[in-house]
Symmetry: C2
Subunit: 665 residues, 2 copies
């Protein structure tokens, strides 16, 4: 499509139209960021009109090129481009920019406006998500069909994005993997919120990206021919490409061009009018789209329909004789899992133990991977410890698109790349690290939960019981911190069979992320003939061991501490105290159950409740109530063998029994 020669007059008119749609919308909302959309309009024009293979009539067409606006504050640029290209985003929507219910939200929100590929705003995330999108595309191209998944990923970013470490991590990995399908355009406007960018940022970005093994080009931000040539060269290069565009924030604004003032506030009526006059526009016209622009941009829909029709034809041909991977992709596209994929998972018996839940997880993961060809993932350089290697599968490298990803010691980028993979239809992506390092990837984890993406986090080494590595490695507040995240499922299984159920839930749950919280230390495999079946995990919490005699005491636990609770129950039952043990691996699922079930598991009449978890007690009051107690960590951990620490910090059957005896008075 780039064979069509540039049409300078219409190009310029469309670009200016994009500028004023943005400036008008910000003015109307009395809130927003006019300067960056105005400077980036030339790139948006070239991409949406000439380079992106996209079909405005079907924003979900899987073969489309992806466009990510990493500098999400420039959202009006995206909305303007989508509107002019013919997406279902009306001028009225743009007029309602930043108002309740408008798809034109303050920052681009995935699922709100058609054509928004991912939610952006927190800087750096879009760049790293783009790396994940490019990785997913290359995986599908190589594993499923080079003909169907040869799409590219374009990302537009600002200096703020490139200052963020997560972008550096992701860029280093993209260069390492040679993701040639990724093109990043950097708006080098030299202005930040605090003033000139050189207040804090004077590194040579070009040299840095060359060090990552990227192609790097520099262009002048208003020179369409130069940008066009750079885009063509970027497409031809086997490396990921960075195009550094020297731009000016709010170009043409008489007093605010090149000023931090143009970043995050409306230009003001007077300045906006003066800017319009400088461009030869009528200051009276607001949200004005000249007919010539409409006609010029109509080509997007026509070309898009043609491109998608070609693609659907190729798909139909491929569907006739689908490879196993393409078949899996078709399932995934339909939001289905292969029949019986979650059934027949490994089951464990007591003689399999002791088995750390991370070990059980490795066994279950490999069983799932055998049935799910598009399940892929890896760890932030901890695969042998997190047990997340898919056996017999290749690594994803420059040469080969295997299913074992090696993220390096880059947890934050891993989180964002998982988002990119999870945006890719058909793929089920997991990422692993120690639970403590979940702190490094909270920003993308939150975005996954907000967008309803479903990556699976495998967080091992889940408590002080990891032992000698000491307090820096021992999670305390991480469980509470994760449980507070809306739409994230946190599942902490107590043994191998609960682990299998947890994986099943995670793979089947496709509308939000799941975090599996796993032990480093070996744990008994519970005797499910004597105790309740592990399927109880599906309801979040269940009665694992019934009381004998009248119910007088309740022990509530998760993960490894379930075993301590069971031992405490033995002590109390010997004294004739009817004691129940409830396993509560997933609070979120338990809360989704009806009141009848929850009350059956935790009878309100039984006030003598002790919860035990080797983590912060924060939040446990919800389950133990005012009459109960929580045996938990009130400080950071220490460095010593795990069993020593569990005793030292009071996680013993005797301590639990004592606590209940106290409550019973």
């Amino acid at each position: 499509m780039t064979k069509e020669p540039l049409d300078p007059a219409n190009a310029r008119l469309t670009i200016d139209c994009l500028r004023f749609l943005a400036a008008d919308a910000v003015e109307q909302a009395r809130s927003g960021h006019p300067g960056t959309p105005m400077e980036a309009a030339p790139m948006a024009y070239l991409l949406y009109r000439r380079h992106l293979r996209h079909n405005p009539a079907d924003p979900h067409w899987p073969g489309r090129d992806r466009f990510v606006l990493s500098c999400g504050h420039a959202s009006m640029l995206l909305y303007g481009a989508l509107h002019l290209s013919g997406y279902a985003l009306s001028l009225e929507d743009l007029r309602n920019f930043r108002q309740l219910g408008s798809p034109a939200a303050g920052h681009p929100e995935y699922g709100h406006a058609p054509g928004v590929e991912t939610t952006t705003g927190p800087l750096g995330q879009g760049v790293a998500v783009s790396v994940g999108l490019a990785l997913g595309a290359r995986f599908l191209a190589e594993q499923a069909s080079a003909d169907l998944f040869n799409y590219r990923v374009y990302c537009l970013c600002s200096d703020g994005d490139l200052m963020e470490g997560v972008a550096g991590e992701a860029a280093s990995l993209a260069g390492h993997l040679g993701l040639g399908n990724l093109i990043l355009i950097y708006l080098d406007n030299r202005i930040t919120i605090e003033g000139e960018t050189r207040l804090a940022f004077s590194e040579q970005v070009a040299a840095r990206f060359l060090a990552y093994d990227w192609q790097v080009q520099q262009v002048e931000g208003e020179n369409l021919a130069e940008i066009e040539a750079a885009l063509n060269a970027a497409k031809a290069d086997p490396r990921p490409s960075l195009i550094i565009a020297r731009t000016h924030i709010a170009p043409g604004a008489p007093t605010k061009q090149d000023s931090a003032e143009a970043h995050g506030a409306p230009l003001g009526a007077e300045e906006l009018a003066a800017t319009k006059r400088a461009y030869g526009w009528d200051p009276q016209l607001r949200f004005h789209v000249p007919e010539a622009v409409r006609a010029h941009m109509a080509a997007c829909r026509e070309r898009g329909a043609r491109l998608q029709a070609d693609w659907e034809e190729r798909l139909a041909q491929a569907e006739a004789q689908p490879s196993p991977t393409l078949r899996a992709w078709l399932w995934g596209r339909a939001g289905e899992l292969p029949d019986g994929c979650g059934d027949n998972l490994p089951r464990f018996v007591p003689s399999d133990g002791p088995l750390a839940t991370r070990q059980a997880s490795g066994i279950v993961l490999n069983a799932l991977a055998a049935r799910l060809p598009l399940l892929l993932g890896g760890s932030a350089d901890l695969a042998p410890s997190t047990n997340t290697l898919l056996k017999g599968e290749d690594s994803f490298s420059r040469e080969s698109s295997g299913r074992n990803l090696h993220f390096g010691v880059r947890e934050h980028a891993m989180g964002a790349i998982l988002n990119g993979l999870s945006h890719t239809p058909g793929l089920i992506a997991y990422g692993a690290t120690f639970l403590i390092f979940s702190d490094y990837l909270r920003p993308p984890l939150r975005l996954a939960a907000m967008m309803g993406l479903a990556p699976i986090y495998v967080f091992t080494h889940d408590s002080i019981a990891l032992g000698e590595d000491g307090p820096t490695h021992q999670p305390v507040e991480q469980l509470a911190g994760l449980r507070a995240v809306p739409n994230l499922r946190v599942i902490r299984p107590c043994d191998a069979n609960e682990t299998a159920e947890a994986w099943r839930l995670a793979v089947e749950h496709r509308t939000g992320p799941s975090a599996l919280i796993l032990s480093r230390q070996g744990l008994p495999v519970l005797d499910r003939e004597r105790l309740a079946p592990a399927e109880g995990v599906r309801r979040g919490g269940y009665v694992l061991a019934e009381e004998e005699g009248q119910l007088r005491a309740l022990l509530i636990a998760t993960g490894a501490e379930v075993h301590v609770a069971l031992a405490a129950r033995e002590l109390l039952q010997k004294e004739g105290i009817g004691t129940r043990v409830v396993s509560l691996p997933c609070w979120e699922l338990f809360e989704e159950q009806d009141v009848a079930y929850r009350s059956a598991v935790l009878p309100p009449a039984c006030a003598a409740r002790v919860a035990v978890e080797a983590a912060s007690p924060f939040g446990w009051e919800r389950w133990v109530g005012e009459g109960g107690a929580v045996v938990a960590m009130r400080s950071y951990g220490a460095s010593a063998p795990g069993a020593v620490l569990m005793k030292h910090f009071g996680f013993t059957a005797e301590a639990l029994a004592n606590k209940l005896r106290e409550l019973l008075g």
Copy 2:
């Protein structure tokens, strides 16, 4: 001291001794990381014996050079070097490596072993903390005394450190600021946990650091003369310096050198014996320190005593005619604040309002800064929004060591740099960003809390009420996540006077970090003649508005929602329902109060309690009990004007009153 010629025989003996102290300790503990200490022993030797200006007899000497082991898993290297240099760390301590109560913890823990400058383990942190230490040194040298604070910061790191984004952020800033007092040694052993480093990391590190404007040198990791020359060149260069040392993990181990196996597990008795034989050591000897090594290393103590004595003399001279800054430093060193510093803070009256607490914060901060010459800080490119600029003060730049820091859009590095500044005696450091971006700096925030450092976080834009920027910018789970962190104080003031009290608490509290949670939107300044005084903040929570008549209902709130609670109280009192409003800005402080006070504020007999906070309800059960309710956010926010959102999500006086009417039946 580097004028003394190298003594190759004793150097080699000491280096091998360091290697086997590490390998023996890991073997004894049956846990730990032998390979890296073995490879880095030459650098540790050269630093501790020849380059570091340190005094083992006084690890707190403020004029010492700092050494940070960013690859904290190599802790035994540090313990060995400290032991041999004459720090109060015995061979017995080393034998108890990784055991409960031993100062020789699994990773270096600040405050456990003498000479550990900062807690490390989570990768990347040590590099970024070193940048903060170097920044602090340059600040003191320029502001207080070039003669007293000309110390250097040395940091040893691994590939994992350099893969982490936080290290990239900090290195970019260090190059930008030209921190020539910083020397980073990178152990390029080409091995990671998952195998060879090139599985995930093939960028050109040297070129990247040149792009950051660092000096870069490459050496062979066993070549003492080469390393020595590089250290001397690094000291002479005005830029921060990176020395890339090509090393081999577990050098000399016959089967495990250059293998990932040597990273995180003992070598094994046989391999260790073979390694000792290869070095000409007696395999029978464990924890062996040859007499020649003791004699050779005795120089550290002698030289250290001399260096410190010289320094104390210079200090005594300076003390005779101290500059205001040096006087402030002397206070800070003694852990004191200037008299009356917290008194006479700005007070606000209702006619000052409406005033956002971020605005009040800016006024109070500037008042404090006028009295505290060593209070410094800045924001991650949001100073105009977080109101954290110190008026009339210079920026910290390459040319000038002013008190206004510009971190750039690098929240994570900001957090770690604050730790480095907080390690620097005398300095009080603050860092600002939007509350949502606290997610980016959780790892260093946790380390600050664990170490008992006292940076002050200024987190503004604290709820959905920030409005149009939408869900990506609206905190929901962040308050709960922060409250779960042990030893962190989270303070969310409700008006300008509570904000002043919050700042006072933060500045006075020097054994843990404080997070101030501030509003974007304007809030009334409460009439303290009618309501309780804002000094109640000092107890964490207090009765802001007493009930009229018999107490029947309790409203508990923080921050902006206190005003909604007050309005709801009006509604209920009109109906004759005695309603009390409790302001609970700091849970941690309130929990520290005795039971009598807490019960006086929240009488247990009053079960009709409603808590209101425009954030996740997670954790609020603690205060409302089983009979109460929480009006909070159960989802992510939305993009619309703040007042519209507060209504939309149910934060209205009417909704609160209704909830209480329901509870009262």
